[in-house]
Structure formats: C-alpha cells, structure tokens
C-alpha cells in the first residue's frame, strides 16, 4: 500500500513544515504563491486518493511512532475509512482553498502570516485524520482551535474580529479540555488510548459506572467544536475571518471535526440510550434553530453560517439515530455539504470583493458580468436545495427516508427536517441564485472582475456536485460502505442511486421545494415577522457567554486583589494556615500514636547546648537593639552547630559555624541600612493572632519532629547509599559522597540557586551604588594586616586541604569554599584598598568557572553511560597529610562547588561592603545602634 512508502506522518509533518516555509513563498507577487503552495495539499490528496482503493476495500493500515510509550501515548497512525474521508476532505478542499486564497489575498500584505497559519491548520486537521491515539488526537484537536483563533483574528485591527476569535478559541478550546478529561477517563476505564483497542473492549466501557462521565466529556468536546446549540454562537462570529477561512475551516473541515470524533467513537461509546437521545436532541435542536435563524439573515456569510450550523445539527442528529440508513445519510450529506457549502462560501467571498457588499438584497443581475461564476453558484444552490440531478438530491432523499423509517421520534424529526430543508432552499435562492439571475432595476455595478484562479474553486466544486449526483454509486459506493461499516462496526452493503422512483419521499421533496420557493418570495414578510425574535435569541447565547466571561474575569480580579493585598503579614498567615492545615490533616489520618521506646538517653552536654540555644532565642525575642538581636541569632546558630557536632554530623557543624560567622559579618556590614527595632504597635486582636499563630506553629513543629523521630516508614534509602559508598564511590565520608556523587544533580541545582540569589543581590545593590566607590576609609588595623599576611595564605591552603580530604573525612567543597572565601575577605579587610579577589578572579567569573566545572564533570558520565553526572573514576594517589585522593569526576564536581561557594560569599560580601561604604560617605554621622 502506498502508505508503507509515504507514511501519513510524513504527510502531516510535510504540511506542518510548509507552514513554516509558507510565509516566504507567500512573498511572491500576484497569484503565483497560491499556485505553488497548492501543490502541497494536492500531493497529499493524490497520496490519499492512491491509497483509497485499498482502504475502501477494507485493508487496514497502521503504524507507530514511539513517543511516551510507558504512558501508553505514542503517535499511533492509522488510515481508517472515516479518517481517509476526512483526509481527502482536508487535502482536497485545501488545494482549492489555497488557490482561492492566493488570488483572494493577492494584494494583502498580511498574506504571509495567513498562509503560515492556514497550513498549520491543515497539518493539524490531517493529524486528526490519521491519528488513532486519542491523546495525540487531542493535541491536534487543540492545534486546530489555535489555528482557527489566529485565522479568525486575521483582521486583528478590528475589535469585532478579535472578540469573535476569542469566543471561538474559548468555546472550542474549553470543549477540548473537557474532552481531554473524557479521553483520560476513557483510557483509565478501557485500558488504552487506541480507538481500535477501546472498541474491542466496548462492553466493559459501556457498562462501567464512569461511562456517563466519559460520554458527557467527549460529547462536550464534539458539540463545542461542531457548533451545536447552545455553543453555536461562535460560528457566526467566526465569519469575521476572510472568505477562504470561512469556506475551509468553518464549513468544510474544522467544524466537522466534532462529527468525525463522534464517528470515530461510535464503535466505542455508541449504541446506548445516552448516545441515542442526547445526540438526537442536540442535533435536532441545532438543525431547526440554525435553519430558522438563517432565513432571517440578509448578510451573505451569515446566511451561510447559520445553514452550516443547521447542517452540523443534521449530521449530529443522524449519528444519534444510529440506524444503518441514518449513518449512510450522514456520510453522504457530509460530502454533499462540503461540496456545495464550500462553493457558496467562495462565491460569497468573490461577490463581496467584486461588488463591495454582502447584502443579498443589493446583489442583482450579475450573471451577464460573471457567467462562469454564476453557473457554478446556481449549480451549488441547486445541490443545496436538493434538486436532481445534483448530489444534494440524494442526500435529501436519504434524510427523509431516515426520518420516515425512524421509529417513535420520526414525526417530530420529520417536521424539523422539513423546516430545515425548506430553509436551505430559501438560503440557496438568496445566496446562489438571486444575485445572478434576480432582476432588479439595474445590475449591481462591479468594482473588479474576479480572475480565473478565484473562480476555479467554485467551478470544480460545482462540477463535483453534478458528477457525484450522476454517478453516485461509482464514486461514493465503496467509500460509503466502508465508512458506514467502520462507524457501525459491521459489514454493510448499501446501494447509492439518484432516482428512487415516485414515492412518499419524493412527494416530500416536491413539497419542500414548493415551501422553499414560497418562503423565498415571502422573505421580507418572514423577516419582519421573526426579526425581533431572532435578534434577541441569536445573540443571547453569545451575550450570556461574554457576560459570564466578564464576571469570571472580575471574580478572578477580586480573588487576586484579595490574596495579593501587599500585606506581608497576611501572606505569612495564609502560608502558615495552609501548612498547619495540611499537617493537621495528615495527623488526623495517622493519629497521635507516638512510640516512646528506644529513645536516646539524656545527655548533659546536649542539655546544656539546648539551654544555650533557648536562652539565645529568648534574647533575640526580647532584643531592643539591632546588634543584640544579631549576636543572639549568632549564638542560636553556634548552638545548633554544637548540636550537629554532638550528634555525629561534623560536616554540618563546620558548615554551620562558617555560615554563622559569615552571616554575622554580613549583618554587621549591613547594619547601617537596616531599620531599627522599634516595637510595632499592634491592637489586641493582631497580637492575639501573632501569638496564636506562633504557638500553633511551635506545637506543629514539635509534633512533626516527635512523629518523625518515632516512626520508621520503610527502609531509608541512605542505608543503601552507605553500603555502596566505599565500594562504588571510593569515599568514606558518606555525606560528601551523597553530595558530589549519588545526588550530585541536586547539589548542582542548589549551587545554581545560590548563584542566582547572589546575582540577585548584586543586581539590586548595583543600581543604587556606583561601581567604583572608595572602600572603607583608611583606618586599617596593623595587627590585622600583620596577621592576615600569614594567616590568609595558610587558610587558602587549609581550604584546599579540606576540599581534598572531604571525600573521606569531614570537609569537602562547601566547607573548603567557605574557608577560602573567609581567607579572601580577611586579606581584603587587612588591605581595604585592594579589590576583593580569589585566584585573581572577581566573584562573578569565579561563580561561572565553578558552575562550568560542575556541569562539565557531568559530561563524561553522559557520554559513557548516558547518565548525566554519573561518576567516572581515574587512578588514586597519596598526598602527604591529605591521604589517598582518587581522581574522578566527583572530585571535579566538588572543586566546582568549592569555587561557587567561595564566589557567592565574596559576591555578597563585596556588595554589602560597597553599599556600606556608600552609606558611610553619604551619611557620615549616621548613628549606630
């Protein structure tokens, strides 16, 4: 089969690639761009047509492009009869539309983007046609909505265009999201996202308790896309788009996507009462309503839009009736509608361009000026009216046959169908016949005669209406059988013929034509009769929608301003409340069962440290001077470092000590710029909230710790890490091994955060101070200078020592980096006139170097084992004092951490010091606390 050579995926991607290239091609002058671009859909059409014989005969074709197979989401391709029909429709109509658009927009500067979006849409539609996996189907589905939004908004300088485009996007896109929910539910229930596998599992799905939810979700997707009442309002609004878009998206292809979705899913979800009645109800209501509103219109495109709504209703209704005949009628009517409606939309566009108006009553006697177009329009109108020998006649006969055959609901449906068909005739007369054959006082003057390419599309489609009508069996026979067979999941053998003989159905046809003609002649009376009714009713759905949207936005605004009050206290309270709520909920489920067995013995040294920390915290709470608070905070930190040391965490203790020291230095430098500790005046209620929140948090933390200490949920992962530390990672300091090897990616993320925070500080402070300020005025300490000369280099060496031994003993990149930074700061404090440097590098290049080293150390693992940051080891050697050092990427990583940590400390210090100096200069008498 041809699809083995040219995969449908290739066709979809080819068209999408054309979307990227189209803007360049569209720069060609004149109508050539359209001709060139039309070759792409023409090729696609040719491929589909070449493969169609086999598909109609029942040979299936499928293929798979792996994507996220673990989730059951691959691009599963299939060419099914229903999909092939859609593909032919999209590519065939696409060819004509591209030709037409090339001529229609020949002198529009915006056509470059127009063609890009048109091909984007075409690719997405083709994707729908050949995709079996419903999740991928959804992706293409939403892509069509987005493309439609962009195309409706083509004249984006007009507010009406933009609003209509947004309506369409929200309705179809929103429906798509609901549909996704349905798809996921369906996948959960049916165990697959593939339509074929789901259909095989139909009994289980239909009988499942979730079936109603699945069905409703997918139905919402279908009826929003296919503009069923009450979501129909976006479709008339979409007429703000240029004529090619209306002809292509909003009559022939996109709006039918919902119908196709229903057709694809009928073997999975169909055959139930829910399916039967809801589809019939939506379809019949839409069919009748669309028809009734259509006859009141006088604008060419709105006339066509509402009959399209009506036609979509007919299709949905037919799929709801479900009988073999009904499905057959749906398939034939779908093709018929595409042929005549596409032609008439193109005619409407040409009429507007040629005369400058879309008002039907002003268009008269144009046959003489545009005979070819006129004939094509009349043919399309005849097909729309259901006159023999055009294919529309077959469709209408089938429609009546279905309704006469349908049990129970047949008569009401027959009446609705009669109204809809008569309305179709009225509209066909108004749009297709009157402008050309109608006689007015004088023919409407032409501004511009349409060119050859502009007319081609309508003529081809008109010929199609005639040919399909004359040889229905030869052209549509096999296709209809295959398609109906797929939808009903059974073998069918149907006959298609033009003439059924003189029977009740034919009588109904004659009556319809008579009613239509009478209706056309009485059109003004009908309009004045129904005018008020329809203006109220037509816009109601849209106005309701827009009002709902506006109140939604207003509500969102209210919520946002409520939540984002700018009140810091309130933010904290919300966060705390949410956290407390979550903890309480978790505790509520786990109950307060603390086990107090196996508690560690009370140790006097620990008790003393705890007392120190408690007292320091109390000091911080009571402090009224800034320095007291800072020192108290430092004491808390040192005490906690002591706790770390006492409980077997030397690395933590060292890190904490160094960080506390640096924090003290930073605070001391920053103290001039900080507000004083004035007690805030709170009313009693606020004080109550503050104390209450802190007590609740305190109790929460206490309970959390107790709970965590006394339960062991499962084997800690760290046990395995400890097991593998020596044998695989060649390190005895498990903490360091975890940081630079087992969980190096975490560490990489963390040092990146640090760099970003430090750069943020630099960015904030640099705006206020000049880059080159004189540093602290020359009062330097001789003692410090003398000692720094020797201590600083020693500290640097010590930091390297800490870095190297870190893999086996306390130390490592974090600690080494902090010590190195302290050494650089010390040197700088002793000689303030020298810039702050480490290894002759400023902080920012140093941070860059560190991050680069860390990232580079991950590449060998990526290269050798396809795992970023997986360790690669080299030889080991012994160093005096340090001991055994093994070369490897974790060491490089640790050196990177070392540089980054040193760099951010230097950066923070430099910024604070500069700021401090500028404050001192600006405000020398600033009182210190």
């Amino acid at each position: 089969m041809i699809f083995d050579v040219i995969s449908p995926a290739l066709l979809v991607l080819g068209v999408l690639a054309t979307a990227a290239l189209a803007p360049w091609v569209a720069r060609l002058r004149g109508e050539m761009a359209g001709v060139l671009l039309a070759l792409v859909p023409l090729t696609v059409f040719g491929v589909f047509l070449a493969g169609s014989g086999g598909i109609w005969r029942g040979d299936a074709w499928g293929g798979t492009i792996a994507w996220a197979s673990e989730l059951g989401i691959d691009w599963n391709l299939w060419v099914s009869p229903v999909g092939l029909l859609l593909g032919l429709l999209v590519s065939g109509m696409g060819t004509l539309i591209v030709l037409y658009a090339g001529a229609y927009l020949a002198d529009s500067p915006k056509r470059t983007r127009f063609f890009g979006m048109l091909f984007l849409f075409m690719g997405a539609m083709l994707g729908l046609a050949v995709t079996e996996n419903l999740v991928v189907f959804f992706v293409f589905w939403e892509l069509t909505s987005v493309a439609s939004y962009l195309l409706i908004g083509h004249y984006h300088e007009k507010i009406d265009s933009r609003k209509s485009a947004l309506d369409a996007l929200l309705v179809t896109g929103g429906g798509g999201v609901v549909m996704l929910a349905g798809v996921i539910l369906l996948g959960e229930v049916g165990g697959s996202y593939l339509i074929g596998e789901l259909a095989a599992n139909r009994e289980a799905i239909v009988g499942h308790a979730l079936y109603p939810a699945i069905f409703v979700c997918l139905l919402v997707g279908a009826i929003t896309k296919s503009a069923q009442v009450p979501f129909h309002f976006w479709l008339p609004g979409a007429m703000a788009a240029p004529a090619p878009v209306s002809a292509y998206l909003h009559s022939a292809t996109m709006v039918k996507a919902g119908v196709f979705l229903l057709a694809f899913l009928h073997p999975v979800l169909g055959g139930t009462e829910a399916w039967h009645f809801s589809l019939m109800a939506f379809g019949a209501a839409t069919m009748t309503w669309g028809a009734l509103v259509a006859v009141m219109q006088t604008d060419l495109k709105r006339l066509l839009a509402f009959t399209t709504v009506s036609a979509l209703g007919t299709l949905v209704m037919l799929l709801g009736i479900e009988s073999e005949l009904a499905v057959k009628a749906a398939v034939v009517f779908l093709v018929v509608h595409a042929l005549y409606k596409g032609a008439l939309f193109m005619v409407a566009g040409i009429l507007e361009k040629a005369t400058g108006t879309r008002e039907v009553e002003q268009l008269r006697g144009l046959m003489r000026e545009m005979p070819v177009l006129g004939v094509a329009a009349v043919v399309a109108a005849a097909s729309m009216s259901g006159l023999p020998p055009f294919v529309g006649f077959i469709a209408k006969e089938l429609l009546y046959e279905v309704k006469l055959e349908a049990p129970l609901v047949g008569w009401p449906l027959l009446v609705c169908g009669f109204v809809a068909n008569a309305a179709n005739i009225i509209v066909a007369l108004k749009v297709g016949v009157a402008p050309f054959l109608g006689s007015g006082e004088s023919p409407t003057p032409l501004k511009k005669r349409p060119g050859f390419l502009l007319v081609t599309g309508s003529v081809v489609l008109g010929c199609g209406s005639l040919l399909f009508g004359l040889f229905p069996g030869a052209i549509l026979g096999d296709a209809t059988n295959a398609i109906v067979g797929q939808i009903r999941a059974e073998e069918v053998s149907l006959k298609l013929k033009l003439w059924h003989g003189l029977n009740l159905v034919f009588l109904l046809s004659v009556l319809t034509v008579a009613a239509g003609v009478v209706g056309y002649l009485a059109r003004k009376r009908i309009r004045s009769l129904g005018g008020r009714l329809t203006t109220v009713a037509t816009w109601n759905a849209r106005d309701l929608f827009r009002a709902g949207l506006a109140s939604l936005l207003a509500g969102a605004n209210k919520v946002t301003t409520g939540l984002q009050s700018g009140n810091l206290r309130q933010y904290f309270l919300v966060i705390l409340l949410a956290g407390a709520g979550l903890v309480a909920w978790a505790f509520g489920k786990a109950a307060f069962d603390f086990s107090f067995t196996g508690l560690a013995a009370v140790r006097l040294d620990v008790v003393l440290v705890i007392a120190l920390v408690t007292l320091s915290t109390a000091l911080v709470l009571r402090a009224s001077r800034r320095m007291t608070a800072i020192l108290g905070l430092g004491c808390v930190g040192f005490g906690i470092a002591g706790l770390f040391a006492l409980y077997g965490a030397p690395d933590l203790a060292i890190t904490q000590l160094l960080v506390e020291t640096l924090t003290l230095v930073l605070f001391a430098l920053a103290i001039y710029g900080l507000p004083d500790l004035r007690r805030s005046s709170f009313v009693f209620r606020q004080r109550l909230v503050t104390v209450g929140a802190s007590v609740v948090t305190g109790i929460g933390f206490f309970l959390l710790t107790m709970k965590a200490l006394t339960i062991e949920l499962h084997e800690p992962v760290s046990r395995e890490m400890a097991e593998r530390s020596v044998s695989e990672a060649f390190g005895r300091n498990v903490v360091n091994v975890i940081l630079v090897d087992f969980r190096a990616l975490d560490t990489l993320g963390e040092i990146t955060v640090l760099v970003i925070a430090a750069l943020g500080v630099a960015a904030m402070l640099n705006r206020t101070s000049d880059a080159r300020l004189p540093s602290l005025d020359g009062k330097r300490s001789t003692v410090l200078l003398a000692s720094a000369r020797y201590t600083a280099p020693a500290m640097i060496i010590f930091s390297v020592y800490l870095l190297l031994r870190g893999h086996n003993d306390p130390g490592g990149g974090f600690i080494g980096g902090l010590v190195a930074a302290l050494a650089a700061v010390l040197t700088h404090l002793a000689r303030p006139e020298t810039p702050l440097r480490f290894l002759r590098l400023g902080p920012v290049p140093l941070a860059g170097l560190g991050l680069a080293l860390a990232v580079l150390s991950g590449l060998p693992g990526l290269w050798r084992r396809a795992s970023f940051l997986a360790a690669e080891w080299g030889p080991a050697f012994s160093l005096p004092a340090v001991g055994k050092v093994k070369l490897g990427t974790p060491l490089v990583f640790d050196i990177g951490v070392y540089f980054v940590v040193a760099a951010i400390v230097l950066l923070l210090y430099e910024q604070m010091e500069r700021w401090h100096a500028s404050r001192r200069i600006a405000n020398p008498t600033s009182p210190s606390s």
């Binding site: 560690a600 905070l633 004083d676 933390f701 020596v726 300091n733």
Partner: protein
Amino acid sequence: MEILISLLIGFLAAAGVYLLLQRNLFRVLIGLALLAQSANLLVFAAAGLGDGGHAIIAPGAERLPEDHPDPLAQALVLTAIVISFGVLAFCLTLLKRAHRRSGDSDIASLVKLDP
C-alpha cells in the same frame, strides 16, 4: 532526649513565626533566620539522632556501624544551611532597598513601594 530536641525545634519555630508576623521589617528578617534554623534542625533530627557515631566510615571498615546517623539527612541539611544563608542575604538586601526607598521600617511601607 528526643522530646527535649523536639521542644527546642518547636520553640525555635514559634519564636521564628512570632517575629515573622511582626510589623517591623528587621524583626521579620530575624524571624526568617530562626525559622530556617528550626527547619534545618527538624530535618536533621527527624532522620534519627543515632547513638553517638558519625556518618563517616572508619578506615578499614566497609560500611557504617549499626545505628549510625542518617548521612542523607545530613547532606540535605548541609545544602539547606548554605541555601538559607543565600536566601537570608537576598532578603537582607531586599530589606535594605525597601528601607532606603521608603525610609520606614513598617511592613505597611512595602505596599507603597508597589508600582
């Protein structure tokens, strides 16, 4: 011992939140620092206090002794300490900027700084 440590963590958190909810911006900053200390200690303690050993494999041994302290929690806390330092420095700078622009130390002054 666990109860005492848990009480300390609770007290630190309570003190942190109490300061965090003050209107004076400098107190808010100090509160943030205390809360960070409390959280670090919580993660550390939650993994179990162990029995005096430390998370370094003795020379010659192949694995940690039984009832060793949890090295993973220590690794987490180690980075957390450095990160809270970075965050604190960042907030300190924010505070300085805000204070300089508004000249006020009350949190209400932050609302005025919003454009």
